[in-house]
């Protein structure tokens, strides 16, 4: 192989403060080609170098063959929202080559597989060819495995050219293959061969590079679905019924992976839990409700279409007051929508999920760490409130790898709620009623099947019932039952996690958001601050809202409600709650299937303020 002549730039590049630890790498590949391993390797290596990073996988609903992009944001300042600019692009897919080339920022870098015989028609970037097939072959990889490891070539070349520490690359490969010597060696050989080739054959002509930092110490890297599964295990989950659906499947699969490790009985291999793959979501939630009713910490996980099927039983669980936890990893709707893209679109649907008057309790984790925390808290809340608890994450949070503080062990003992066992009924002389509001908080007491006291049993029904759970159509009883459920919902306000509020001295406007948009909000807020626009932020963590939410809304004469949907669903819910503040609640809703960016947030706010981005700069 002969050295490759670098392209000549119109203007020579100089290293700027922005080209070190402050750019993005976008990798364009073909779905199903094994590129996820390569992309995660780069992401994890950067993380181990101590540099704040985030990775977003923009993948198609397809097993093999369609284009996929993976964007890594490297930000020494810790701004980790999805970047919109592509400084460094790695082009491995002939089908998107032209578009990927066009997307590179002027002054940017373009790595491309040299078997793609398409013209590089730009002179304002640096382009590096990568002899992928040759290097894979030269690495010594057996011919039948070459297709699987070919993507490791760009890992080696990019690492070499951007100064990513190869030792951290090795750590990442070792982690990915769980210490299995053979695949580790195979992939590592390709990386080394590629790095060596680049060192010998490519002349560095661009300014982008990375330097070790110390900014990721005390963090781990994980995805929200794994965190949710682990949190559920620390919540003592006993029953999981689920049905496969993107992007929620990996949550249940993680339960299958970690339950056997974390819930080993000391003296036997017998199990304290059951995971069952149901025939559909109608059955998945039915099973979870049956188990919750019978006293198990019970859950299911799904996404929009599955949630639609679960609606009927969700309404019954609300009305019959059965504890159950439902994770909704939101994807793009309506309908089948975009199964592999992200959205915050199920809010109003879930808040009222069920026919008749229904009010559901919702938790809104805003980070991977919070997925863990809400994983165990959701069970406490479900059993305390005797109602379904919906936890709404989304595809971005659920399936992408995020830097996050380590998971923390639950800081309170389990709350199993108001349950009466044999000895309690004995003490009460059997005098109890399933739906009697003894404590005036709207939450009744319950017994659970298996309680052998002769007065323990009652008949649960979705039809009208009195305090003793017997059928009745009595108008007064019906009215009072629904009012008590409303009272219970109001009680929930003081149990669910309150909002996270961050205030700035002298700020007059508030930004209200929730969930995975947190990084975009933080970055936009910093950008606005630099422009002299002070903001307070409130990240909502649950519905129903507590008094802190009310105080925040009332203390700002303009509240921007930022969310990833079309209709401003959170803004609608806030407006219903605080109708008098309706005109001060401004919906900034946007959905295109991709994670929200800081620029979008900033520009939506500036537009409402009557400023163009140019004016603001």
């Amino acid at each position: 192989m002969s050295p490759v002549a670098p392209l000549v730039l119109d203007e020579p590049l100089v290293e700027t403060s922005d080209s070190v630890n402050n750019f993005s790498i976008t990798v364009a590949t073909v779905n199903g080609s094994g590129s996820q391993t390569s992309n995660l390797t780069i992401l994890r290596a950067l993380f181990k170098m101590g540099i704040p990073v985030s990775g977003k996988n923009l993948f198609p609903s397809n097993i093999q063959g369609l284009p996929t992009w993976y964007t890594i944001r490297i930000s020494r300042d810790g701004f980790l929202a999805r970047p919109e600019e592509h400084e460094v692009v790695v082009a491995m897919n002939p089908a998107t080559f032209a578009r990927d080339l066009a997307d590179v920022l002027p002054g940017g870098v373009f790595f491309y597989a040299d078997d793609i015989k398409l013209a590089i028609n730009r002179s304002d970037i640096v382009a590096y060819p990568m002899p992928v097939k040759q290097i894979t072959k030269d690495s010594g990889a057996p011919s039948n495995l070459r297709d699987y490891v070919a993507n490791m070539v760009y890992v080696g070349i990019v690492a070499q050219m951007l100064e990513i520490d190869l030792a951290t690359i090795h750590l990442a490969i070792n982690f990915h293959f769980k210490g299995k010597a053979k695949p580790i060696q195979l992939n590592w050989d390709v990386v080394q061969a590629a790095a060596k080739w680049a060192a010998e054959n490519l002349e560095k002509k661009d300014a982008f590079r990375v330097e070790p930092m110390n900014a990721t110490q005390g963090y781990i890297m994980a995805d929200g679905n794994t965190a949710a599964a682990l949190g559920s295990i620390y919540g003592g989950v006993q029953y999981v019924s689920w049905y496969p659906i993107t992007p929620a499947s990996s949550l249940a699969e993680s339960l299958n992976e970690y339950l056997p490790i974390l819930r080993k009985e000391s003296d036997s291999d017998r199990k304290t839990y059951a995971v069952i793959q149901a025939e559909d979501e109608l059955a998945a939630i039915g099973m979870a409700i049956g188990a919750g009713w019978a006293g198990l910490r019970s859950m299911t996980s799904t996404s929009g279409p599955g949630l639609s099927l679960m609606t009927e039983y969700a309404g019954l669980a609300y009305f019959t007051e059965v504890p159950v936890v439902i994770w909704d990893i939101q994807r793009v709707g309506p309908s089948t929508g975009l199964p592999t893209r992200t959205m915050q679109g199920d809010l109003t649907f879930v808040a009222f999920m069920g026919h008749g008057d229904t009010q559901q309790v919702i938790l809104l984790p805003g980070s991977v760490n919070e997925c863990f925390e809400f994983g165990w808290k959701a069970f406490d809340l479900a059993e305390r409130l005797q109602t379904p608890i919906f936890v709404l994450a989304d595809l971005d949070m659920g399936m992408n790898q995020w830097m996050t503080p380590p998971f923390k062990y639950p800081d309170v003992p389990m709350d199993r709620g108001k349950v009466l066992w044999e000895e309690d009924l004995e003490r009460l002389g059997g005098n109890w009623a399933r739906y009697r509001d003894v404590d005036h908080d709207g939450i009744p007491y319950r017994t659970i099947p298996g309680n052998r006291h002769p007065h323990a049993g009652y008949f649960t029904r979705g039809t009208g019932h009195n305090e003793e759970a017997n059928y009745t159509e009595d108008p007064v009883v019906w009215h009072d039952m629904l009012e008590r459920l409303k009272k219970k919902y109001n009680t929930a306000r003081d149990y669910v996690p309150g909002p996270v509020i961050d205030q700035t001295e002298g700020a007059e406007v508030g930004i209200i958001a929730f969930g995975s948009t947190e990084p975009a909000i933080l970055e936009a807020r910093a950008q606005l601050a630099r422009m002299g626009i002070k903001t307070d932020t409130m990240r909502l963590r649950a519905i129903p809202f507590n008094t802190q939410v009310q105080d925040f809304v009332r203390s700002h004469n303009r509240n921007y409600v930022v969310e990833m949907n079309r209709d401003g669903q959170m803004c609608q819910l806030l407006t219903i709650e605080y109708p008098d503040k309706g005109s001060d609640l401004v919906s900034l809703a946007y959905t295109d299937g991709l994670p929200l960016t800081a620029r979008r947030v900033r520009e939506m706010i500036l537009a409402d303020m009557g400023m163009t981005p140019q004016e603001a700069h």
Binding site: R44, F47, A172, I220, M221, I233, Y234, G235, G236, V237, Q238, Y239, S241, Y258, L262, R263, E265, D269, R270, K271, T272, A274, A278, E279, L282, A283, A284, I285, G286, M287, A288, I289, G290, A291, G292, W293, A294, L296, E312, L316, P406, F407, K408, Y409, P410, M414, T447, I448, P449, G450, R452, H453, P454, G457, F459, T460, R461, G462, T463, N470
Partner: protein
């Protein structure tokens, strides 16, 4: 059974667990006078009383419809869950995991099972959940006032519905094809057989499907209708004379060698199937299929224990649960220890 004297001095008959028949009763039925379902409720009460079952050991399940109301008419002391239309199986599949010592007793109907609930029915059957699954089958939707159900025979004529143009669903057949481990058919007009079959079903360690023709006296009891009392009485062909012998009781049913088949159940009880007019070995799946096919062709109401397999493990058995019922496990057995959290964080990158 024995007599017991109450506090008021009255003598009442009690069973071996010291309960009287009234301990097995439910609320008064609100179904029509003469409804087949009421007869089945009575046989459930009688069977459980005679079997000395403690009501707290049973959990009742049902879906939606006239049949699904009936669990309130028996076993008031048992827990019960009246779920959604066609979705009884999923509730039971969750609930019974909570305490494996509990036995499920589900009552569904032909609409609840063979139409809206066909999916869940087939899946609970293939999973072999340990429960009695009774279908009170009357060929008609009673609670919505007389529409055809999926088990109504082709050509059935109903008031203001016209003629049924479709072939019926055969619930026993569906259960058998779906790998049920206990399939029986009976007739509410044959209470003795219903009672014995319920006892056998309760002793079965797996799903026990009882397809019981249970006439709807209001909407589908014309003499020519296949789900009517009259038609049933005239066309019932019992596969055998069936009797249940509790565990630890000597078999006193008399029969000649080769005249009966004895099936031993897990709990040591036995079902004696005395030959009536024909041979049928209910442990032979092919024979069971043949007998159902024959019943369709001869247009007769073939009743009895069609199929039984006592060798298959039940759903919950396959999960190897701990001895303590799951819903009685303390926090220390379901929340991992504090020291594990470091390992978990180390497992992440």
């Amino acid at each position: 059974m024995a007599d017991q004297t109450t506090s008021t001095g009255a003598r009442i008959q009690v069973n071996l667990v010291g309960l009287s028949k009234s301990d097995y009763r439910g609320n008064p039925s609100t179904l029509c006078q003469g409804c087949g379902h009421n007869s089945i409720s009575s046989q459930i009460i009688a069977a459980l009383y005679e079997m000395d079952v403690i009501p707290e050991d049973i959990v009742k399940f049902s879906g939606i419809g006239c049949s699904s109301k009936s669990p309130t008419y028996f076993l008031n002391r048992s827990f019960g869950f009246n779920g959604l239309h066609g979705r009884m199986p999923s509730i039971a599949t969750g609930a019974l995991f909570a305490d494996y010592t509990l036995k499920g007793l589900g009552v569904s109907g032909d609409g609840d099972t063979a139409s809206i609930g066909m999916g869940q029915f087939k899946h609970v059957v293939r999973r072999n959940l340990r429960m009695v699954y009774i279908v009170e089958n009357n060929g008609v939707y009673g609670l919505t006032k007389g529409q055809f159900s999926a088990t109504a025979e082709k050509g059935l004529s109903l008031k203001s519905q016209g003629n049924n143009p479709y072939m019926p669903v055969d619930i026993a057949w569906e259960a058998l094809v779906g790998n049920a481990t206990f399939v029986a058919r009976s007739f509410a007009g044959d209470p003795k057989q219903v009672k014995e079959l319920i006892k056998a079903a309760l002793s079965h360690e797996g799903i026990a499907v009882l397809d019981i023709i249970s006439p709807c006296v209001t909407f589908n009891n014309q003499d020519t209708a296949m789900h009517s009392y009259q038609w049933g009485r005239e066309h019932e062909v019992a596969l055998h004379e069936l009797s249940y012998v509790p565990p630890a009781e000597d078999i006193v049913v008399e029969y000649e060698q080769g005249e009966a088949i004895e099936v031993t159940m897990h709990d040591g009880s036995a079902v004696i199937l005395k030959k009536v007019s024909r041979e049928h070995d209910p442990t032979d799946r092919a024979a069971a299929m043949a007998v159902l096919e024959e019943a369709n062709r001869c247009e007769c109401l073939l009743t009895g224990l069609i199929y039984i397999d006592t060798t298959k493990p039940s759903l919950i058995e396959q999960y190897h649960l701990v001895d303590t019922p799951l819903n009685r496990l303390s926090e220390d057995r379901i929340r991992p220890k504090p020291e594990t959290i470091k390992m978990v964080n180390d497992l992440m990158f």
